[in-house]
């Protein structure tokens, strides 16, 4: 971006990391530093702010190459523990989606369904080193004669297993309420009728993209923490949208940017990648993800210092509005209010519950900080920027610090 003044380059920060001189703090710590010393001093003092998030991210999955067999197979149908993976790619490649449910699952026939096992659980089982039942079927060709294959495999037996998540780390996300007259079971949890409760799923001031609201430092090639191992931002995530409502501090007030991310499952830890069963909705994957944010100028110090009380989320009705595609907000709440356990909405006090783990997000930000301080992790220089919106300082009066 032409209007972004880089006063400290990522290359320079990497040199400091290499020399053991870099100052690295978590986003939680940065909030206090900026509150006490202001963005200008914080910029001089801090090189990198580490972020983290841990929650259900449905748009996730794994590209798996299970290696050639003797005789060879062109597998067109593939299953892991009875969970089907998409086999419509090369002979022994497939894509296992996080939300794919085990065959013969009763789904929502008895509502709300339990969705005990799916793609996310297979991914967790593999990363945990547990063996899974692998099945493949091919139609037989001259070059790939084998038609059926069945065996136990574990992660080490697979030639490649890469986590490939098309959309993670949503920058801001809906807070869910229910204005209808029955209990509903959603991907944002169980929602009681008549505004009985609200659920939210974000890690507030620790969220990766809320710390870089205009994507000045995060782009394709940014190295990240993914599932306990180093990973990378591989593209803008699906539905990435920089042109949404922003506050006076420049931070988005509704769902906006997203990241597509990739990493090697063989290096990951089952602590940070978990299969999830969401009652009445389906299977999914809980993903632990953290992004280091280089403080390239004073504005980045300001953004990484934005606190939970200054981050706002839209409350959306999942009873009628959301399922019917009606774009309406019931009101705006701060992350600080959400975290307190109740919010004021439409003249009522409504209890809140999170679905993303703030404590795990904090842990991820601290682990990433340690990696960098110990010079085990350097920052990636973005090769392709994420689509963004023009930065007009006059529109964001709070940036006149």
């Amino acid at each position: 971006m032409s209007e972004v003044r880089v006063k400290k380059s990522i290359e320079e920060i990497n040199r400091r990391i290499n020399q053991g001189k870099a100052v690295v703090v978590t986003a939680d710590e940065m909030v206090d530093i900026v509150a006490e010393e202001g963005p200008k001093n914080a910029f001089k003092k801090v090189d990198v702010v580490t972020t983290g998030t841990f929650g259900t991210m449905c748009s996730s999955g794994a590209f798996i190459n299970f290696g050639h067999t003797k005789p060879k197979i062109r597998a067109s149908k593939v299953w892991f523990n009875e969970v089907e993976a998409y086999g419509g790619i090369a002979a022994v490649d497939c894509f296992l989606g996080a939300t794919q449910v085990k065959e013969e699952d009763p789904l929502n026939k008895v509502h709300p369904g339990r969705f005990e096992y799916g793609g996310g659980h297979v991914i967790e089982d593999l990363i945990a080193g547990r063996s899974v039942r692998f099945k493949a079927r091919g139609y037989g060709t001259d070059c790939y004669p084998l038609r059926e294959l069945e065996k136990e495999v574990c992660l080490q037996d697979l030639r490649n297993a890469y986590l490939y998540n098309p959309r993670n780390a949503y920058q801001n996300y809906n807070t869910a309420a229910n204005l209808s007259e029955r209990t509903i079971y959603t991907y944002l949890g169980i929602l009681r009728p008549n505004l009985g409760n609200v659920n939210y799923s974000t890690s507030g001031q620790l969220s990766p993209l809320l710390n870089d609201p205009f994507y000045w430092t995060i782009g394709v090639g940014t190295r990240i923490f993914l599932g306990g191992a180093p990973g990378v931002v591989s593209w803008a995530g699906t539905q990435h949208d920089p042109d949404v409502k922003r506050g006076e501090n420049g931070v988005v007030r509704e769902g906006a940017g997203t990241l597509a991310v990739t990493g090697d499952m063989k290096e990951m830890s089952p602590e940070f990648i978990r299969g999830a069963s969401i009652v009445g909705y389906g299977c999914s994957l809980m993903v632990g993800l953290g992004v280091p944010v280089p403080i390239i100028n004073e504005d980045m110090a300001y953004f990484t210092g934005v606190a939970n009380r200054d981050l706002f989320y839209q409350v959306i009705d999942y009873g009628l509005d959301y399922p019917n595609g009606i774009n309406r907000s019931l009101g705006e709440v701060s992350y600080e209010q959400l975290m307190s356990g109740s919010i004021e909405l439409q003249g009522r006090t409504v209890p809140t519950a999170p679905l993303a783990s703030y404590s795990m997000a904090g842990r991820i930000s601290r682990i990433l900080k340690t990696w960098i301080l110990e010079n085990r992790f350097s920052l990636g220089v973005p090769q392709v920027p994420l689509p963004t919106t023009a930065f007009d300082r006059d529109r964001y009066p709070k940036l006149n610090y």
């Binding site: 169980i190 069963s277 969401i278 809980m286 209890p351 519950a353 404590s359 904090g362």
Partner: protein, 148 residues
């Protein structure tokens, strides 16, 4: 002299021989304890089950429970039957939105989920809400043999 009262949530199982005896009434009269019916289910002429909150002076409460057992009521202390698997729990907090008694609640400083089994009334909502299948418990429908 003021006495300290304690509260226990229990599942009582009445088999067909005793299910029509007024033993709860007797326990209340003999030991002066309070009770609150949280859930009840009766399979006529087969079995009856009650989830009760019992409240009273600790000694009296224990005497009442012994009395019930003496009357051949099977008594399950619920707090002993409810477990959170800490290996599975990721402290997401989904359970805290459905827990009505405050047995599961977030520590607002650490944002970790705290669990107090003494407050649990076995409603089973947390087990439904937990995406990690971390909660296991007895319920009024529990299979007595497998739960042992």
């Amino acid at each position: 002299m003021p006495t300290e009262t304690v509260s226990r949530n229990v599942l009582l199982i009445f088999n067909r021989e005793i299910m029509y005896n007024p033993v709860i009434y007797q326990a209340v009269m003999k030991f002066g304890i309070l009770f609150n019916i949280l859930e009840a289910r009766i399979w006529p002429r087969q079995e009856g089950r009650l989830v009760l909150q019992l409240e009273g002076e600790e000694k009296r409460l224990e005497q009442a429970i012994s009395y019930l057992e003496q009357e051949k009521v099977r008594v399950e202390i619920l707090a002993e039957r409810i477990k959170r698997d800490l290996e599975r729990c990721v402290h997401c907090g989904a359970c805290t939105g459905v827990c009505k008694t405050g047995a599961l609640d977030l520590d607002r400083r650490s944002m970790e989920v705290m669990f107090d089994p003494e407050k649990c009334v076995l409603c089973g909502q947390c087990r439904m809400a937990c995406p990690m299948a971390a909660m296991s418990m007895a319920s009024i429908d529990m299979d007595v043999l497998t739960a042992r």
